[in-house]
């Protein structure tokens, strides 16, 4: 029986929040892998703020998704057919599978998609998209290598309940820092403090972030890991310490702007405080992912670390599910379930 692949393609470059009409749902028969090729049944896909940037025209750290192309996404899945030397049917794998049910890769494509085996004894499928996947690696290396937190310092992270934020905060706690999150709504804040063990969490929707920082960071801010940009970045800049490190990981508050990005008016605080603001892209640590995965998996096993995902079912919900990110409606790492095993 020939398999049918359902796909979600970019139909138009969105203006502001992506709409359902910016997407095109297609189907086509699934081919067989040629020599060295591999066919993956996609099980779960990672939905990430960065995807919004890939939909825009223009130079970035990777080329934009072309109009008519299957939307780019990382995922986890199971090999269903293979003539590749490394991958056998039944193997669980991760890689750039895009928003579709089946991903057929020749040998070169498999390499470019970063196809790799995943070990479900180290973590679940969705954890491999979260703490053991890109968000986890972004948080782990971005915090430790660029943020360089020292024990006793105060680390603040925005998007604290999100995929990257939850790992940033937990790693910082393990490293002996005071950790203060910023998140939207009492449920997320409670989760971050009670479940993840942050010292405090500021609800940006219900009060002043500035007052929250004064209250919860009595010794100022040494490391700020920024996932949101906008007003929150500007506010944290007023509370940084001398030689503070600001890690620019994202700016989700600005991604659907139809007006120019709001630059941080308080950037001269960098001067006064001899502080640093530095951008990161996780791919730069690709050759060290195994080290990060091993460490986080060990912490999970030891009960020191939690990985929370918000799993939504169904490829056809992709447009609305993706937008949950921009509306702050996901609670934990947002995962799209495409199929059962």
């Amino acid at each position: 029986m020939a398999l049918i692949n359902h796909q979600v393609r970019l139909a138009a470059r969105p203006v502001g929040n992506p709409k359902r009409s910016d997407w095109n749902f297609t189907e086509e028969p699934v081919g067989d892998p040629g020599p060295g090729g591999v066919l993956v049944k996609v099980l779960q896909l990672s939905l990430d703020p960065a995807m919004r940037g890939w939909m825009n025209e223009g130079k970035s750290y990777i080329p934009p998704v072309g109009i008519g192309e299957v939307m780019r996404a990382g995922g986890v899945g199971k090999v269903v057919a293979s003539s590749h030397a490394t991958f056998k049917p039944g193997d669980y794998v991760g890689g750039g599978f895009d928003v579709q049910e089946y991903c057929l890769l020749d040998e070169g494509q498999a390499k470019r998609a970063g196809l790799h085996k995943i070990d479900l004894r180290m973590g679940s499928l969705s954890q491999w998209l979260n703490a053991l996947g890109m968000p986890g690696m972004t948080a782990y290396f971005g915090l430790l290598e660029t943020g360089q937190p020292k024990a006793g310092e105060t680390v603040v992270v925005s998007g604290a309940a999100g995929a990257v934020g939850q790992t940033v905060g937990q790693v910082a706690k393990i490293k002996g820092c005071r950790v203060v999150g910023i998140a939207g709504g009492p449920d997320k804040c409670e989760f971050v403090v009670k479940e993840l063990g942050f010292d405090a969490c500021i609800d940006y929707k219900s009060g002043s972030v500035k007052d929250g920082l004064k209250q919860h960071c009595p010794n100022g801010v040494d490391v700020y890991f920024d996932n949101v940009g906008g007003e929150i970045l500007d506010t944290v800049l007023t509370r940084i310490n001398r030689k503070a490190r600001i890690v620019i990981c994202g700016a989700i508050s600005q991604y659907n702007n139809t007006t120019p990005v709001k630059g941080p008016s308080n950037y001269l605080s960098l001067l006064v405080n001899r502080a640093r603001m530095e951008g990161i892209v996780v791919f730069d640590w690709a050759d060290r992912y195994p080290e990060g995965v091993k460490q986080i998996a060990q912490w999970i096993r030891e009960g020191k670390f939690k990985s929370r995902e918000d799993i939504v079912d169904g490829l056809n919900t992709f447009p609305e599910t993706l937008n949950m990110l921009f509306e702050g409606r996901n609670f934990g790492k947002l995962v799209l379930k495409v199929a059962d095993e």
Copy 2:
């Protein structure tokens, strides 16, 4: 005969550009140095953009100048009376002498003012306020330690004809970089290229900085040393290379703002390019000034390095002379001559 000291005091916190009415001219008799004290006749004062920040209320890297206090300034002068163990009458000295004709310091004040001997065989009085003084040290350590230019890289510096900019560019040239200045007007641009040996200089008053960067930085920008902030910083951000370093030294375009500082809208270029923006304050390298002075003096002696000052005569011209900085009317390091020797 009792000496009379004329002083310029801060009368009001300026709104926008400082006005003459923001200053108060006073005179009082000069006292004698007590045990361990020293009396300096002020010869020349350094006028710097940073002085504008010291006039504002609020937390910065040093406290603001109080209303009624003699305006803070660094200077060079000659010891006229001393019971200090280190300093003898006739010694040439540098330090924080403030905007006045005579500076009387007790032993503790002498230390806090950073009183130090200067050797006029290494450079002239005005050079000791420029390449061998704070601007030179700011440029030398800020560029080398924070900018970390490598031979063959492209270094861009704004305020290129100014005190800090001229040293930044010349040091970068000596280190083997391609150096592109940004300055206002054809005279400054010509000076920077023909006299100081920059590879090119973009006149921000007569054309597009973006086009100038495209033309003169065909390989992008690796280090940007920013003295001006505002639109120019935002434009340079669009041209930076991967792992670029932006040194935030000042933001003269924003100092007299009566509206909020304009933050760099293009700061997400830091993310895309994994680049860094870092603030500097020269005092952090105070214990290494002798090393910087020795190196720059050697380059001057060898004919590899020029130090250009714009010297204006007369303590009573202070208000208007200071404002030359904010209007870009100084050509080289701005120095106020207070007295002949």
